[in-house]
């Protein structure tokens, strides 16, 4: 039974010259999970807004064609009425939670619909049970983890008993465990009593978390549907990579194996499917124990330089008694790219704030040194020339009209010379993929360029160490490549880079070392390979390694190394064992 139908639907926003959605013809069945994939700016959010009736009812625009939900045309009903059939969950839980307790917040929607008290109680109970948050009923939402907060937002949506649950990048801000929590909830809602049709917009970074749960995938690019079909078919289509979404790592592995000549009847899209298919392949090839080539790893693993950042016994307590850091010890070495990983609330950001003097340690014997100097003894203007920190959200930083002015702001504030400033601006434009955009209006930049710009703005200060908070959030696969390419250029020029991130694939592919934080301490630190090869300790920190590394862990009984970090590395091991030669693409 069709629950949602877009028929010849096109949309142009009121003040826009181009159509944001063009001739959309898709339909979704009851009780299915639909992945709405597309690179940044493809039209995914607009699609969800049309599904919810936000356009044209709240955000005006010109529409052609129709969107019907449960047979009712959205154009004929107000958003508040559509809210009885469609619920929307956004990326940021912070703007979706309104109440003091979890129970109250779940009840917020049904109360607004003016339902009888008994009905509200029934809906709240059911929503909390389906989303697994009954035990959190009396908790303050502010005290919950990111995953729990997003689950609460979903519970609030489920309590509306919608026919369609639309979610816009619901796991983008979550740590790996939070992503899993949310996706489990989605599965329960879709396949459980609610039988809601779930539509999840995703730009690619979290595709692995949801690929195995998808029944249908619709791919948008530049406002048009370019692919629509079952997940197993769409996710192996070459267009997925061409538009910059990227495939799940296990899918990419099997596409490579198939292209090399392996007989793979079904390309898997999830970890479980991949493990099963790979075991079958190995059995068919008569491989009991894998012969692992010595050079399967990436060739450019670097040895660490001298420590440029030294942290010892760092404690920090927020009022009234929240111990955010409990004795952090960490060295960051010259010329390395370090990934700082850990659950939401593990102390990553608090630690980084101390490095740039935005916070003071709570204990007097703490050591926070950059290039041998105590950060607390330096003036802030001295600190930012040595080490700098880039916040996650570029919209909370960018203010100048033009890109060039934005990059030139820091040197102007520091009263650098004109020539020096000009040269730094030009270099920054080159490094951060902004060449050709120097005179563009900053507010008209797409999100990926804004993210590059936020780091480019710091470049003219010539810090030796960059600390960057979530540099890949909101970027599609292509954007992540550009960003990490720029950071590698900086690293290769001798700068030290530390990124705070939840994106384990990025850490595995690009970082030299990783530091895992847990409960305000550094649980472990080592080369990325060493860290991801210790699944038991990672579980302790609620961290999941990249999907391909997890596949390696699952297949360790076959002789697969525990420290495989990338798809080419695993292909390098498997292909010779399957008698398919070794099309090694080193350094990939």
């Amino acid at each position: 039974m069709k629950v949602v139908e877009f028929k010849d639907f096109s949309l142009r926003y009121l003040r826009s010259e181009e159509r944001s959605l063009k001739n959309i013809n898709v339909s979704f069945e009851k009780g299915t999970t639909v992945g709405l994939l597309g690179p940044a700016g493809a039209g995914k959010t607009t699609f969800l807004k049309a599904l919810m009736g936000i356009v044209p009812h709240i955000e005006p625009g010109y529409i052609e064609g129709s969107v019907t939900v449960n047979g009712l045309d959205n154009s004929e009903h107000k958003v508040a009425e559509i809210a009885r059939r469609v619920a929307l969950v956004l990326e940021n839980p912070d703007v979706q939670i309104f109440s003091l307790t979890v129970g109250d917040d779940v009840a917020f929607g049904p109360k607004n619909l003016g339902m009888p008290a008994e009905d509200i109680i029934r809906r709240v109970e059911r929503a909390m049970q389906e989303t697994g948050i009954v035990a959190l009923r009396d908790r303050n939402p502010n005290d919950l983890s990111g995953g729990q907060q997003q689950t609460l937002a979903i519970a609030g949506a489920v309590a509306m008993e919608p026919k369609v649950l639309a979610m816009d990048e619901p796991t983008a801000m979550l740590d790996p465990v939070g992503k899993d929590e949310v996706m489990s909830v989605v599965e329960r809602i879709t396949k459980g009593d609610t039988q809601a049709t779930t539509v999840i917009a995703e730009s690619g970074a979290d595709l692995e978390a949801l690929a195995g749960k998808l029944d249908q995938v619709v791919v948008l690019d530049k406002g048009e549907v370019i692919l629509d079909g079952p997940a197993e078919e769409v996710l192996i289509d070459a267009k997925i990579n061409e538009v910059g979404i990227g495939r799940p790592q296990v899918t990419e592995l099997f596409v490579r194996l198939r292209d090399a000549g392996a007989e793979v009847p079904n390309i898997p899209v999830s970890l479980d499917q991949a493990a099963e298919s790979l075991r079958r392949l190995l059995v068919e090839a008569g491989v009991d124990q894998l012969q692992v080539p010595a050079d399967y790893g990436r060739p450019d693993e670097r040895s660490p330089g001298e420590p440029v950042v030294r942290i010892r016994n760092l404690h920090h307590t927020y009022r009234p008694n929240v111990r955010a850091l409990r004795g952090v010890d960490l060295d960051i070495h010259q010329g390395e790219l370090l990934g700082i990983i850990g659950q939401n609330g593990s102390g990553k950001t608090t630690m980084c704030y101390h490095l740039v003097k935005l916070l003071k340690p709570s204990n007097k014997d703490a050591v926070v040194e950059v290039l041998g100097q105590s950060v607390q003894k330096l003036r802030l203007r001295e600190v930012i020339g040595q080490i700098n920190y880039i916040f996650q959200n570029p919209d909370e930083q960018i203010f100048a009209d033009r890109v060039r002015d934005e990059i030139g702001f820091a040197p102007m504030m520091m009263e650098y010379g004109e020539e020096e400033t000009k040269q730094a601006i030009e270099e920054a434009l080159d490094i951060f993929n902004l060449r050709g955009h120097g005179d563009d209006y900053t507010m008209k930049l797409p999100q990926d360029l804004k993210t590059y710009l936020s780091i480019a703005c710091i470049y003219p200060l010539r810090p030796k160490v960059y600390i960057i908070d979530e540099p890949t959030t909101g970027l599609d696969t292509h954007g992540i490549e550009v960003m990490m390419g720029a950071l590698r250029v900086l690293r290769d020029a001798g700068h030290t880079i530390a990124i705070v991130t939840h994106d384990m694939e990025t850490v595995a592919r690009h970082c030299d070392r990783a530091a895992v934080m847990l409960d305000g301490q550094v649980l472990m630190v080592g080369t990325t390979r060493e860290v991801f090869a210790q699944p038991e300790r990672l579980i302790e920190a609620d961290i999941k390694p990249p999907q391909i590394t997890q596949l390696g862990h699952t297949l360790s009984d076959t002789g697969m190394p525990m420290d495989v970090l990338t798809v080419p590395e695993m292909a390098n091991i498997l292909l010779p064992n399957l008698g398919l030669g070794s099309p090694v693409r080193r350094g990939e």
Binding site: M52, I54, I58, K78, V79, A80, E81, A83, V86, A87, L88, L90, D94, V95, Q96, F98, S99, L100, D104, A107, F108, G109, P110, K111, N112, L113, G114, M115, P116, A117, I120, N140, N142, G156, A157, M160, R319, P320, V322, L358, L380, R381, I384, Y389, I390, F391, N393, D395, E396, Q397, I398, F399, F409, A410, M413, M414, M443, C457, I458, L461
Partner: protein, 277 residues
């Protein structure tokens, strides 16, 4: 940890034992009474009484830096309207000669006599104490009363839904904005920015790196919060109120005392110039 102007769940008498309606009535009563009085000697007990809710609620003391800043920065403009007041006819309770005699200053052609007077100083002191009282009691209310308590109480009182909507959005937005302001200021400070300068024109120009992203974020947040409330049915019609007002005897007693105090103050001001200079 609660941000500035953000409710924090704590186990205190004011958080858990007083009904939100009682808190609303008491705060509104104190604001009205404080607004009626012009004599700082009458405001002084309210300031002293303020120490009790501040202590009991365990409100973070850093919240009050804003009050200190406001008192200091408003002193000059308030003073310009009060200190030069030498019109003896304005004083109802004070000795007009004593109150209006210029301590500093003298006759100015065309304008007449201007100067700092005792009455003007008392008026200035009263205005500043009133600012402290009003802001502080509102801070205590916000710190001890959650958004859902406020909206439920307003709905229970029959307040129109659009009013409740605006209150709830403001309640949600203010602490979020405080977080955003902190982020923006930190991000710009790390680019060498500072608002500090001796030249007021430069201070205004230097505010752009703070104000532009802030305005943009405010617009985005308002849009997001408005959207998220609407998609959860807010504004669709009659809202079900699940929490009954149901105040306890202590609440009723406090509300009655407050109401009596307000009425007595109004009558006192009208009949006997109570609390006037």
């Amino acid at each position: 940890m609660a941000r500035w102007l953000e409710y924090e769940k704590r186990d205190t008498f004011l958080h858990n034992k007083l009904h939100p309606l009682t808190k609303m009535v008491v705060v509104a009563g104190i604001v009205i009474i404080s607004g009626l009085w012009l004599d700082p000697r009458f405001q002084a007990p309210l300031v002293l009484f303020l120490l009790i809710p501040i202590y009991v609620s365990k409100i973070p003391l850093y919240w009050f830096w804003v009050v200190v800043l406001a008192v200091v920065t408003s002193a000059y403009p308030v003073a310009t309207t009060s200190l030069g007041q030498t019109n003896a006819g304005l004083y109802r309770n004070l000795d007009p000669v004593w109150a209006s005699e210029p301590l500093l200053g003298g006759d100015v052609p065309v304008i007449g006599t201007i100067g700092i007077t005792r009455g003007g100083l008392l008026w200035l002191l009263n205005a500043e104490l009133r600012s402290i009282i009003m802001a502080s009691y509102i801070f205590v209310f916000v710190y001890t009363t959650s958004m859902s308590e406020v909206t439920d109480t307003l709905l229970g009182l029959g307040a129109p839904q659009p009013v409740v909507f605006v209150v709830s959005i403001a309640y949600k937005l203010v602490p979020t904005m405080s977080r955003v302001v902190e982020n923006i200021m930190n991000a710009q400070r790390l680019r060498g920015w500072s608002l500090r300068h001796w030249n007021p024109v430069k201070i205004v120009r230097r505010a752009a790196p703070l104000m532009k992203p802030l305005m943009r974020r405010v617009a985005m947040l308002v849009e997001q919060i408005t959207t998220t409330t609407q998609v959860r049915g807010f504004g669709s019609g009659k809202v079900t109120v699940t929490r009954k007002l149901d105040p306890k005897p202590l609440d009723i007693a406090l509300m009655v005392v407050t109401a009596v105090a307000v009425v007595a103050s109004v009558v006192g001001v009208i009949l006997v110039d109570l609390g006037q200079l």
